[in-house]
């Protein structure tokens, strides 16, 4: 045993409550402790990921209650991969937001980092928990900290964005509870593996109704089309690094919850087609909405939604290749979109309106930030030799192998739209004249390091995608093999009862 | 160059014969005499039978035909045209006005004696000279060419200073490229 998954949840939660206490003694600690915690988590999680890639899944039971009855944590190649990714992004976000804007002061920094820790803890919990109600609780933890972080800045429209998010989030939690109620009433269990095992017992009507409520509940977190009204506002009004965290952490957790339901819990074959359709609609609506935006972050938000649509399309293909492509896409999106948000937040640092036109000509004044933004833009539209290309290629190959030619065409057409709006921004950065009233803000050194790490990952994956493909293959294998998951989880309990 | 009939070589004789029978005329329609050129060239009088042909530009022309009075304003252009023509070249003064001013003898605005400004080879008298006279003048020029006596260009070159002085008297603001051969 190389580490304990429970620590990945317990430590950040603990840290979140300890921060204000220690902060009373040593003020700087509110900024430092989260970093240390995240670094420790990252190391622990990465070592566990290495372990599970080569060995078997780590399953942790809480308080000695075995599988179908108690809550257990599953650190499989899939969940481990996603958890590691989230913790890594949490670390990057911490590194970036160290003394970022209002974080210089003690009070805001305290709140900020408390909620960041809760966000990470909740998201990691969503991914590695094996209990459906536990997942609901973690979703709520994540959501509440996300509401709070969205409303972090006063004096902007952030409260409005946060309220919209909250409104949708409440509906989401209601839907989730109803879905859980239905499942529990029919199967009498809350353990995911157990549910999956017993799903054949459930009457079809109940099954579908539960799935639909889950779709709505998790769809709001995962930003699928008609449910994502909150997303652009929240991305726009949240602090830049929190936008990155939304794109890299929160949404990924939502997507995980969704695919876990569709792939493992429910055995409804048509739900795959539903994923494809809803993904395509999300992709098209979001990307076309992005093209006419005049605010940078809002444009990035729509792009993020669109990418999620693409991820759902890739999952909906339903083959191991499709899952691999989708996971690769999630990985790349989790690297690139935070880079765009982070560098973008420095590009429009001092501006009130955050308009795209305010980035004009900044390429000369903040060369590295601009270059990183351009790199992110190049990567996200899928230009080789950057990382985004490989994931897009994987999606298309997977789709082609299933004969979904129309989908390929639609995805590629939408990519052209994506190119248009990203390149318009890049052109503005480099080839327009800077207006005089824009005040340039040089990035702090820690922010710069955070962005450079992300940028170099883009290049590394771009030149050698095989560096990550083994984890992705394992993860996709893990997701596709429902039976193995069920057996892994339940075997512990069975072994004990026998 | 060609001063004396005796000095003509056989080549010169041939060339002069050709020059005589192939006169490209640049008719500079300065005055009322221009109206006499079309009848001269067309069916009734048909100057083309002498090998005469209208030339459109001074570069191609052999003969400069000054048809009538020259105002002081036009003189400059005429001089320029003359100087742009290639050797051998000839000038025909056409009508009384080119000889002594004619009916404009007391005008403040025309030059009276063309010969003071350009080396005239043949004058055609009359006001206006009819096409017959024009043809007779051209025939005269032809015979002069054949004899090698139509040497106005050489005269102009020799006495350039005198001509320039005369020209500059009429034209106060003299801005023209030098005539340098």
């Amino acid at each position: 045993m190389v580490g304990s998954p429970v620590l990945l949840i317990a430590i950040p939660l603990l840290a979140a409550f300890l921060i204000p206490l220690i902060g009373m003694i040593w003020k700087e600690s509110v900024r430092l402790i989260p970093g240390l915690v995240l670094a420790f988590m990252l190391v622990s999680s990465a070592s566990m990921l290495l372990y599970v890639t080569n060995n078997s899944t780590i399953i942790e039971t809480i308080a000695g209650w075995q599988a179908p009855w108690g809550i257990n944590l599953v650190f499989s190649p899939l969940t481990g991969f996603l958890a590691t990714l989230m913790i890594f992004l949490g670390f990057i976000v911490w590194l970036f937001s160290y003394r970022f804007k209002r974080n210089v002061d003690f009070e805001p920094a305290k709140k900020y980092f408390i909620f960041l820790m809760m966000l990470v803890a909740g998201a990691v919990g969503i991914v590695i928990t094996g209990d459906i109600f536990n997942q609901f609780v973690f979703i709520e933890i994540t959501s509440i900290s996300a509401y709070a972080l969205t409303a972090f800045y006063t004096g902007r429209n952030s409260a409005e964005a946060s309220f919209k998010y909250l409104l949708m989030g409440s509906l989401s939690s209601s839907a989730l509870l109803i879905a859980i109620a239905i499942i529990y009433s029919q199967l009498g269990t809350l353990n995911m593996a157990d549910i999956a095992d017993k799903m054949y017992l459930m009457p079809t009507g109940y099954k579908i109704t539960a799935l639909i409520f889950f779709f709505m509940g998790i769809g709001i977190e995962a930003e699928i089309f008609p449910l994502n009204g909150w997303a652009p506002d929240a991305y726009t009004e949240a602090p830049g690094p929190i936008g990155a965290a939304f794109a890299g952490i929160v949404v990924k957790a939502g997507v995980y919850a969704m695919i876990r339901l569709v792939f493992t819990l429910f055995d409804i074959p048509n739900s795959m087609q539903f994923l494809v359709v809803i993904g395509l609609v999300t992709l098209i609506v979001a990307e076309t909405s992005a093209i006419k935006q005049d605010k940078l972050k809002r444009m990035l938000a729509y792009s993020s939604i669109g990418q999620m649509g693409l991820v759902f399309v890739a999952f909906g293909i339903g083959t191991a290749e499709g899952v691999f492509a989708a996971l690769f896409l999630m990985l790349n999106h989790a690297i690139i979109k935070p880079l765009l948000f982070l560098s973008g937040s420095y590009l429009v640092f001092n501006s009130k309106e955050k308009k795209i036109s305010e980035v004009n000509g900044l390429g000369k004044h903040m060369p590295i930030t601009s270059l990183l933004f351009a790199l992110g833009a190049f990567a996200i539209v899928g230009l080789p030799p950057f990382s985004g290309f490989w994931s897009k290629l994987s999606v298309l190959t997977a789709a082609a192998n299933e004969g979904m030619i129309l989908i390929i065409a639609l995805v590629l057409i939408v990519s052209v739209v994506e190119i248009v709006y990203y390149f318009r921004v890049v052109n503005r950065i480099y080839f327009f004249e800077k207006s005089d009233n824009v005040v340039v803000q040089k990035p702090r050194i820690n922010a710069m390091i955070a962005m450079l790490i992300l940028g170099s990952i883009i290049l590394v994956i771009g030149f050698d995608p095989d560096i990550v493909s083994i984890y992705l293959h394992k993860a996709s294998h893990d997701l596709m093999n429902t039976r193995e998951y069920i057996d892994n989880v339940l075997s512990i309990g069975q072994s004990l009862t026998k | 160059m060609i001063n004396d009939k005796n000095s003509q070589k056989i080549v010169d004789i041939l060339q002069n014969w050709a020059r005589k029978h192939s006169l490209f005329v640049l008719a500079y329609g300065t005055g009322c005499g221009a109206i006499e050129i079309p009848p001269t060239m067309t069916s009734r009088y048909d100057a083309e039978r002498f090998g005469i042909r209208g030339a459109a530009t001074p570069r191609q022309a052999d003969v400069l035909l000054i048809t009538g009075y020259l105002t002081t304003k036009t003189l400059k252009r005429v001089i320029r045209v003359y100087e742009q023509m290639q050797d051998p070249k000839y000038v025909i003064g056409f009508g009384s006005c080119t000889i002594n001013g004619g009916m404009y003898y007391d005008s403040y605005n025309t030059i009276k004696v063309l010969d003071k400004y350009l080396p005239v080879d043949v004058y055609i008298n009359g006001c206006m000279p009819r096409p017959e006279s024009v043809i007779s003048g051209i025939v005269k020029l032809q015979s002069l060419i054949a004899e090698g006596k139509a040497n106005g260009a050489a005269k102009y070159k020799e006495n350039l200073d005198w001509y320039r002085a005369n020209q500059k008297k009429i034209i106060p603001n003299w801005v023209m490229p030098e005539y340098n051969w």
């Binding site: - | 160059m1 050709a18 192939s22 069916s43 083309e48 039978r49 090998g51 459109a56 530009t57 050797d87």
Partner: protein
């Protein structure tokens, strides 16, 4: 030895072309005069003019391209003369005839206008440049029916060699102008433009443009251009005779045929006014092109 003979043959061809071309020029002037009810100059007037131009003692140029422009034009006319078979069966006038020469001819014939254009452009005289633009535009106009006629010929005989076309005509005993009448009509209509007589003489337009492209050329330059033009006229006429009238067995027949052909643009020109450039282009893209199309269809289907 063979080389010397070839060169002698070439020189003989050039002399022949020069003589015939110049004489035709004089004869045209004479005929024009007679149509105008005038005496007109003697038929050898063009020789006198040429000789006189050679006797001009001074010359000016505006630069190197004006200096070499006439040489370019000469290249065009003489090289195209070299590849146009003068008589049936070659002999002295065989020169550089070869298969596939029609396409070559089409292009080398453009070399002349280009040289002219460069020379005229170098003078800096706006009239020259205007004349050139008109000339080139008009050329684009008449090349269309002309090429259509040629393509029809090539299709009909399945060759691009003038010699072959002549041989096949003689073997079958039917002149091309009868066996492919539309091609002939199109080609003749294009020829009107090619000779630049009225109504297609807007290029020179003596009074408007001061003789256009040549307005800065006198003396030896004008002489070269004039000779080249004469040779070129001969080339064009011979080419038409070769292509459409079965070629000629000896020089007399050649002269007769070419002269008869020459009368078409001349007589049409004498009684015509002048077209504007776009009018003449539209003219060429009207009926002549239609006939050219007919010719191609005729060649393909009949």
């Amino acid at each position: 030895m063979e080389l010397i003979l070839n060169i002698l043959g070439a020189i003989a061809t050039i002399v022949l072309a020069f003589t015939v071309g110049m004489s035709y020029g004089g004869i045209v002037r004479k005929i024009t005069a007679r149509v105008h009810n005038r005496m007109g100059p003697p038929w050898y007037q063009n020789f006198i003019d040429a000789f006189k131009l050679a006797g001009k003692t001074t010359a000016i140029n505006h630069g190197i391209m004006q200096h070499f422009g006439p040489a370019f034009i000469m290249v065009s006319s003489i090289v195209s003369l070299m590849i146009v078979p003068v008589l049936n069966g070659g002999g002295w006038f065989e020169n550089l005839n070869f298969g596939g020469d029609l396409i070559f001819l089409l292009y080398i014939m453009v070399f002349g206008p280009l040289g002219m254009a460069l020379g005229a452009g170098q003078t800096g005289n706006p009239n020259s440049a205007i004349g050139i633009t008109r000339g080139l535009s008009q050329m684009v106009g008449f090349e269309i029916p002309w090429v259509m006629a040629l393509v029809a010929l090539m299709v009909q005989f399945d060759t691009t060699s003038i010699v072959d076309i002549m041989r096949i005509q003689n073997e079958s005993g039917t002149w091309m102008m009868f066996s492919s009448p539309f091609a002939f009509i199109a080609a003749v209509m294009a020829m009107l433009g090619m000779f630049r007589y009225s109504p297609f003489d807007i290029v020179g337009a003596p009074t408007e443009l001061a003789s256009g492209p040549v307005s800065e050329n006198g003396g030896k330059y004008l002489l070269t251009m004039m000779s080249s033009g004469s040779i070129f006229a001969f080339v064009k006429l011979t080419l038409y005779v070769d292509l459409f009238m079965g070629g000629a067995d000896n020089l007399i027949i050649l002269v007769l045929k070419t002269f008869a052909l020459y009368m078409i643009p001349v007589l049409y020109g004498i009684v015509s006014p002048r077209y504007r450039t776009e009018q003449s282009i539209r003219f060429f893209w009207g009926w002549p092109t239609f006939f050219g199309l007919l010719a191609i269809l005729y060649a393909v289907f009949v």
